[in-house]
Symmetry: C2
DNA sequence: TATAATTCATTCCAAATCAGAATGAATCGG
DNA sequence: CCGATTCATTCTGATTTGGAATGAATTATA
């Protein structure tokens, strides 16, 4: 029996609560995991998990053992990373990020990254739902806006600017509002995921915050849809500039209210705390941070030309 | 490949400097160790050892890796010890101690110990030479007198009393000296392992230290021989009382100079520092310490009836 | 200097192990 | 009550493993 492999399987089993899930994650089959853990129990001469046909539960001994396991895997990782070829980042890198951000920002940058680090493989998991890094076995998540989970480290790597925007075609047809207050006379596309989708906040460059109530005939719950809707000229939206950055550059979409500050949201690279940091993770974060610094749509505000 | 097994083999290889030695220690064959380490190198993609047909040498990477390995094994040991049946002491316990001490003191006590801990196996290695615990893969050594190696922990578990003694038959034939000074007229058996075999130190109960020069027609380099020589009535010897304790009790051997304090030497249990302490080691030390406390020949001076 | 002994690498073979497919039983959700 | 999912078990084929044998190199010994 390979105790290390068993321990790894055990750890992931505890974290996912399922042999099958671990099997999928480790690219093997459920009987393999089942037998590995049985062998580990046999070796330790103690039961680690109580199994019902559908649920797993840690025994007291299992809890005891689990509390040591992360340390074992970390120590081994550190030892292996300290020598040879493994100093070169390698392995499978599981990334999670919001769907549209992945499509627009991450995927176009993956090719160069993978070319730079030929020994890394990426498994990109797109979801707008906030996932649990531990349960889903994700190495790294990209999150926009503040993060609450204290068991995670959130490293800022860029800034999202949220602006009011509309298609040039829409503005031609309906006229361009000159101040947020005029939005009341326009069709505004609202994002139902927000706490108050119909209240848009503004702050003029002279520092007067104000809230504007908006309305419109289109509410959506995905940023993909916002983008599509704006492009189709369906109305005015408040959205991250990177969502339509190409169209803005080409003049198809126009940013409104240049005299108002954009809302700024930090972009974070989020990863597990207290864990040995594989090189594959840190080098991807560094790559992204460098990329974002060069991209005027994502760079930190302070670095932008005024 | 079982990485943990390979790491263990690697660690022992570094410490012994030989595949064959490790193979003997781990009860396997040399090709097995050779292949394990080759597999580990293959896995890490780096050479750990440079091999000539007869010598092994750590590479830089090997040194790097080795510096992490003890931590790995310790973490794993701690994890395994924290659960289940393994809390009960078990496994192979390698003990080293001086030859006569082993024969007279340790072996007679092993039976009860092994009966108390049926899952422990003992490998007792007797040698008067001071061995290297690490190199020889010894868990625990019993040493008499002070220990110098700072990488080892020496825990006092008893006291050796060194007394002047002779067989009753010898005393009948040659008369019994009444003070150390009279030893000049007797045949004294000297122990050549000491720095000054012919100088015996005495301290009367009124605290006057003195040195006596002795001579005789028998010099020996082993404590077994001293014991035999005394019993055969060959002469007077300065020796640990436990060496002939049965004969002393039976009156065949007599302790001289009751008005002088015996020289006291501490008996230490010596084990490796900074390492996770397997239960098998600590329980043997505790067992011995308890046994010695009950044995008037070995108990600590302060506990003895005056 | 020659011989014996020890060391490590390699090869080969038998035995053990392991991974995966198939199957079955239990449970959960609808 | 049915379909889907979960875990355990069994079986089989493939892989891996461990040990004996061998050979080359080196050291110790005579």
């Amino acid at each position: 029996m390979d105790r290390l492999a068993s321990i790894k399987s055990f750890v992931r089993t505890v974290e996912t609560g399922s042999f099958s899930a671990v099997a999928r994650e480790l690219q093997t089959t459920q009987p393999t995991i089942s037998k590995q853990i049985a062998a580990l129990e046999d070796y330790l001469d103690v039961q680690l998990l109580t199994r019902s046909t559908r649920k797993l539960k840690l025994t007291e001994a299992g809890e005891q053992f689990y509390s040591h396991c992360q340390a074992i895997l970390d120590t081994v990782d550190a030892a292996e990373a300290s020598v040879g070829k493994r100093q070169q980042p390698s392995g499978l890198l599981r990334i999670n990020c919001p769907i549209t951000f992945g499509q627009r920002i991450i995927i176009p940058r993956l090719k160069a990254f993978l070319a730079q680090y030929p020994q890394i493989e990426v498994d990109l998991m797109l979801s707008d739902r906030i996932i649990n890094l531990v349960e889903d076995g994700v190495d790294l998540a990209i999150r926009i806006g503040n993060n609450s989970d204290q068991s995670l480290i959130a490293q800022p790597i860029g800034t999202t600017r949220v602006n009011t925007m509309a298609a040039a075609s829409y503005l031609e047809e309906h006229g361009e509002p000159q101040s947020p207050q005029e939005l009341a006379d326009h069709n505004c596309i609202t994002y139902t995921q927000l706490a108050k989708p119909n209240e848009w906040n503004y702050q003029s460059k002279s520092n007067d915050p104000c809230v504007v109530k908006v309305n419109g005939n289109l509410k959506v719950d995905s940023s993909v849809a916002i983008c599509q809707a704006v492009l189709s000229g369906l109305g005015i939206a408040l959205a991250p500039t990177w969502l339509c950055c190409d169209d803005i550059s080409q003049g198809d979409v126009k940013l409104l209210f240049p005299d108002y500050k954009p809302n700024l949201l930090p972009i974070y690279a989020v990863y597990r705390r207290g864990r040995f940091q594989p090189a594959k993770i840190t080098c991807f974060i560094e790559y992204l941070a460098a990329e974002f610094k060069l991209d005027p749509w994502l760079a930190d505000e302070s670095l932008l030309p005024r």
